[in-house]
């Protein structure tokens, strides 16, 4: 992350300052002033609850009476004696590994297709965004059953070829896949972000490349993709964080149970059950901070490697 010195370059061009305060004012103040709303929100609204939850993760807290300090007990139990924790980890990692790359590939593919300046473009764009508009409502749960149940659309289609399919949505071998498909189907948000990124690539670069006789394929690899890497990087990080925290689809489709046989017991669904179903907010808080550690490690790793493949203009 190389950042040039907007404030300091302006400082050097002026009369040299001697006072420390003046230097701070010149160098640091603009950044902090621009961040002021965020600082108020962070210290006023966000940080307190975060620290509270960190404290609660070292307690036994049943929501209704005061928390009891148990030290690292919650964390010890998690890693030594909790099969549901292990199960939810497996489910979540499986979900992240398959849903994120597929969703991103799909979103990028469609965005490229929609960026070609075809007729009816706004309409297509709106249609493709539609599934994401629906969010995760009760209607989606019902719809997904219509499609993936034993007598659903998928099996009706398969029966044309004489194949008798299982009830995909409720069979422990496939139920997680129906949720992965749901995640991919709602690819609208990364698609829009990719589109916005594509829009920001100056057209004259393509024009110049065309004059040089570069093929579309080569233009994609030499211009589009490198200039899009900040957006690819953003989408990859955000989608991964979101996938790790994914809650609502599994909640509505499994009715909050994570069944069949815990095959859709997403990590945050388990956390939610512990917190609000079984009154173990202390344990749930510990679960949350373990998740944060995993996601933060992944994100830090991504940032460290980003300097090798993400190209910023600055």
């Amino acid at each position: 992350m190389t950042v040039q010195h907007v404030a300091s370059t302006s400082a050097t061009s002026e009369v040299p300052k001697t006072s420390v305060w003046a230097r701070i004012w010149q160098q640091d103040a603009p950044g902090y002033l621009f961040l002021l709303p965020w600082f108020i929100g962070f210290f006023g609204l966000t940080l307190g609850p975060m620290i509270s939850s960190l404290y609660l993760s070292f307690t036994k807290f049943d929501l209704l009476t005061s928390p009891d300090w148990v030290g690292a007990g919650n964390y010890v139990r998690m890693f030594t004696n909790d099969p549901k924790f292990a199960a939810s980890m497996r489910v979540t990692f499986f979900f992240v590994i398959f849903s994120v790359p597929l969703k991103l590939a799909f979103a990028l593919g469609v965005a490229l297709l929609l960026n070609r300046g075809m007729k009816g473009l706004p309409l297509y764009r709106a249609l493709f965004y539609l599934p994401s508009l629906l969010g995760a409502s009760v209607a989606i749960a019902i719809l997904w059953r219509q499609i993936f149940a034993g007598d659903g659309l998928v099996n009706k289609f398969l029966s044309v070829f004489g194949i008798v399919g299982p009830s995909w949505i409720s069979n422990p071998n496939y139920s997680l896949w129906t949720l992965i498909i749901l995640a991919i189907w709602q690819f609208g948000s990364p698609m829009i972000i990719f589109l916005a990124g594509l829009r920001q690539i100056p057209q004259d670069m393509y024009e110049a490349a065309s004059l040089d006789g570069a093929s579309k394929w080569r233009q994609f690899w030499k211009i589009t993709l490198p200039l899009l890497t900040p957006v690819v990087f953003f989408n990859a990080i955000i989608q991964t964080i979101e996938a790790f925290k994914s809650f609502t689809p599994a909640f509505i489709i499994s009715g909050g149970t994570g069944n069949p046989i815990n095959s859709t017991l997403f990590y945050t669904l388990y956390l939610y059950q512990e917190a609000f179903g079984f009154f173990r907010m202390g344990y749930a808080s510990a679960l949350a901070w373990v998740l944060l550690a995993i996601v933060a490690a992944f994100t830090a790793f991504s940032f460290l490697t980003s300097k090798y493949w993400v190209h910023y203009d600055d």
């Binding site: 709303p37 493709f128 508009l133 209607a139 100056p202 093929s215 030499k222």
Partner: protein, 294 residues
């Protein structure tokens, strides 16, 4: 990278016209096929809203056996408070959130993307961390906090955080886009004696229409779709948002008005769909601006 000579011959340029046309037709066919897949849920929901109640879950066909718009009338006034109130509330919350988010997040993003100050990387990392903690565990401390502020039972817990850039997603998004704007522009402005505020206001914002439009679209839609915040902080039905009103149609343990649910679900999509259609134009305008200034 652009000055690297590109010697490969162009496939498309030498291809005959029929091939180009075939490619276009193929693209359209692909897009139309995919659109149908995307549209199916809406069609199903539309059909369900016109269906007799006891047919919704038993009938496999998408065409109802009989059509009726009863569900719409029943749904609109079905709850103790009319849906016109819910729509008004949702608009208030969503529009305020859009204004707050676009403004506050772009300020913070400008600082992270363009200004040099001590502690920048640490603050950025802390900001990203706020994205990673599941909300389920901060819910209760946050509720206690808002209650002490006297904000429970008002829209403030839903709106004020947006004006304080509480959603790191948008800051991060804007940072990525701001960094794609050529730095020569700011430097030129600085030579002319422009301060950070002028650079932000006169250069960054006008050049960032695509990402600002994206942020506006997402904020509007996500705020509109959110039911958990309203669920926790709003107690009186006259303060409910559309999504919370929709949740009230169904109770898994007793009698529910599914017809009304689907009718109102269809209607609740209209504003966000329109908002999307209007704001996506800004995505397109974005190129013209960027290209021209460049």
């Amino acid at each position: 990278m652009t000055d690297a000579p590109m010697k490969l011959t162009v496939v498309g340029a030498e291809a005959p016209a029929w091939r180009k046309r075939a490619l276009t037709i193929l693209s359209h066919a692909l897009l139309i096929g995919a659109s149908i897949l995307m549209l199916y849920p809406l069609l199903w929901m539309l059909a369900a809203s016109f269906r007799p109640e006891n047919e919704i879950f038993t009938s496999a066909s998408i065409i109802p056996s009989s059509w009726s718009i009863d569900s719409y009338f029943r749904g609109w006034n079905g709850l103790r408070t009319s849906f016109s109130v819910f729509f008004t509330n949702s608009f208030i919350v969503s529009i305020s959130s859009v204004i707050g988010n676009v403004f506050a997040c772009s300020l913070a993003a400008f600082a992270f993307a363009r200004l040099e100050f001590r502690g920048r990387k640490i603050w950025f990392a802390l900001m990203l961390m706020t994205l990673m903690l599941p909300y389920q565990v901060t819910l209760i401390p946050q509720y206690v906090l808002f209650r002490q502020l006297g904000w429970v039972d008002t829209f403030l817990p839903l709106i004020v955080p947006k004006f304080l850039a509480a959603d790191a997603f948008f800051i991060f998004l804007m940072v990525q886009f701001f960094r794609g704007i050529p730095r020569e522009l700011d430097e030129a402005a600085m030579m002319d004696g422009a301060g950070p505020w002028r650079i932000y206001w006169k250069i960054m914002l006008p050049l960032s229409t695509p990402v600002l439009a994206t942020a506006a679209i997402f904020t509007f839609i996500w705020t509109w779709d959110d039911f958990f915040g309203p669920l926790i902080y709003l107690n009186q039905m006259r303060d409910y948002t559309v999504m919370l009103g929709l949740r009230t149609f169904t109770d898994s343990t007793g009698m529910s008005d599914y017809g009304g649910l689907f009718a109102m679900s269809v209607l609740s999509l209209v504003p966000i769909f329109l908002f999307f259609l209007i704001f996506q134009r800004l995505l397109i305008e974005g190129i013209a601006t960027t290209g021209m200034k460049r």
